[in-house]
């Protein structure tokens, strides 16, 4: 399973940052053609990212860093051109901004499929993440989350969401709670990733960690990030502790033994083990592995 603890925003008109961003080892890099690019530079950013993705894709892949692009909305003059370029460059994931209804996804999907066909790319290869940025999108989250096999994740875009809710962002994030809850529930119901919003105060590590701990506990896979220094912080929040890792190793070992012996029911540390506990243990070990922790035979 692909981890998405960290999704780093990178403005798509800066060649130095595009060249280097995989070196910071986020789980995903999200190149931005939307809000961080001035209207007069949309053509320039699109052209630069098209050529650089084609060239640098192998380096990103080798580093295990997923490539995502946030396109402009299809109701702007830039959206279709963004898709024309990015699908042909074979970026892995298209992030659709301001998604309010399943129809918003169908519209993008229709163009992706056409372009894949025209370019001789395997149909369905290009995946989609949606960003929910309004109360309407949050209310439609479940139908959106289940609307396309291309959909691999659902994110919440905090700034637009609170503006549309007619409020502002606060330190405790109370205004985000309803939206976050609906999005994580919808994403989990559909079996796709749930990605939290950015934390804009890049110098406030304490506030960032507190928010990351909260969204992790809510069930989110990770956060969108605006600065490379936030990558290590969020990865640490998602790194399981030693006790949890050891327990998970015991559960997986016992599961393998039980399967070999044909046992359906078994216990570890006196507690009955069932499917959700095994899945949690597997996830803990994936997170530990991603954090570079040596386990089992590596000890």
């Amino acid at each position: 399973m692909k981890l998405r603890r960290s999704m780093l925003f990178v403005p798509a008109n800066n060649p130095g940052i595009i060249r280097d961003s995989y070196l910071y080892k986020p789980d995903s890099v999200m190149f931005d053609l939307e809000d961080s690019i001035a209207i007069t530079e949309k053509d320039s950013a699109r052209c630069l990212l098209f050529n650089m993705i084609k060239k640098l894709k192998p380096l990103y892949k080798e580093a295990g860093v997923e490539t995502v692009v946030r396109i402009n909305s299809l109701d702007t003059e830039f959206g279709i051109q963004d898709l024309e370029a990015m699908v042909r460059a074979e970026i892995e994931v298209i992030r659709i901004p301001k998604t309010d209804t399943p129809e918003d996804v169908y519209e993008v999907e229709k163009h992706i499929e056409r372009i894949e066909r025209e370019a001789g790319i395997e149909i369905g290869k290009t995946k989609i993440i949606v960003a929910i940025e309004s109360p309407l999108g949050a209310l439609n989250a479940l139908s959106i989350a289940k609307c396309s096999p291309r959909l691999i994740g659902m994110a919440i875009g905090g700034e637009d969401y609170v503006t549309n809710l007619k409020t502002t962002r606060s330190t405790d994030g109370v205004e985000m709670m309803m939206g976050r809850a609906m999005i994580v529930m919808a994403a989990r119901s559909a079996g796709i990733a749930a990605v939290d919003s950015v934390y804009s105060d890049v110098n406030n590590d304490e506030g960032f960690i507190k928010e990351a701990q909260m969204i992790k506990q809510m069930g989110f896979d990770g956060k969108s990030l605006i600065h490379p220094r936030q990558i290590e912080l969020v990865h640490k929040v998602y790194t399981p502790d030693e006790k949890n890792i050891k327990k998970s190793l015991r559960i997986i070992k016992a599961t393998e033994e039980a399967m070999a012996e044909g046992k359906g029911v078994f216990t570890v540390d006196g507690k009955m083990i069932d499917k959700p506990i095994i899945e949690r243990a597997q996830h803990v070990l994936e997170l530990a592995k991603a954090a570079g922790i040596k386990m089992g035979g590596d000890e």
Binding site: P15, G16, D43, S44, C47, R88
Partner: protein, 94 residues
């Protein structure tokens, strides 16, 4: 592709290149300023030639101020400047 107006693309930031593209009477007139001109001047000119050929530009006056851009960045900024100078939006993504 025929250039109609003066156009610019890119920036003067590190790892980028600033391109000024102007219609020319005939042939290609190139002025290159680069932080790495001694080592990579010929390579940059090669990227310019290839990009102009690919886009069918026969006449242009081009001024480049390079700040250590990769070939792929030079190509991108040239392509953008050419499209802007030709006042075209029909880019061929290939």
């Amino acid at each position: 592709m025929e250039l109609k107006v003066r156009a610019v693309a890119g920036t003067l930031e590190s790892s980028d290149i600033y391109v000024v593209m102007e219609p020319g009477a005939s042939g290609i007139e190139l002025e290159l300023k680069s932080t790495v001109a001694d080592q990579y001047g010929d390579d940059i000119r090669k990227v310019v030639d290839e990009t102009l050929n690919e886009m069918g530009v026969k006449a242009a006056k081009i001024t480049l101020d390079d700040k250590g851009a990769l070939d792929v960045v030079i190509k991108s900024r040239l392509q953008t400047a050419i499209m802007r100078a030709a006042q075209s939006k029909e880019f061929k993504w290939e």
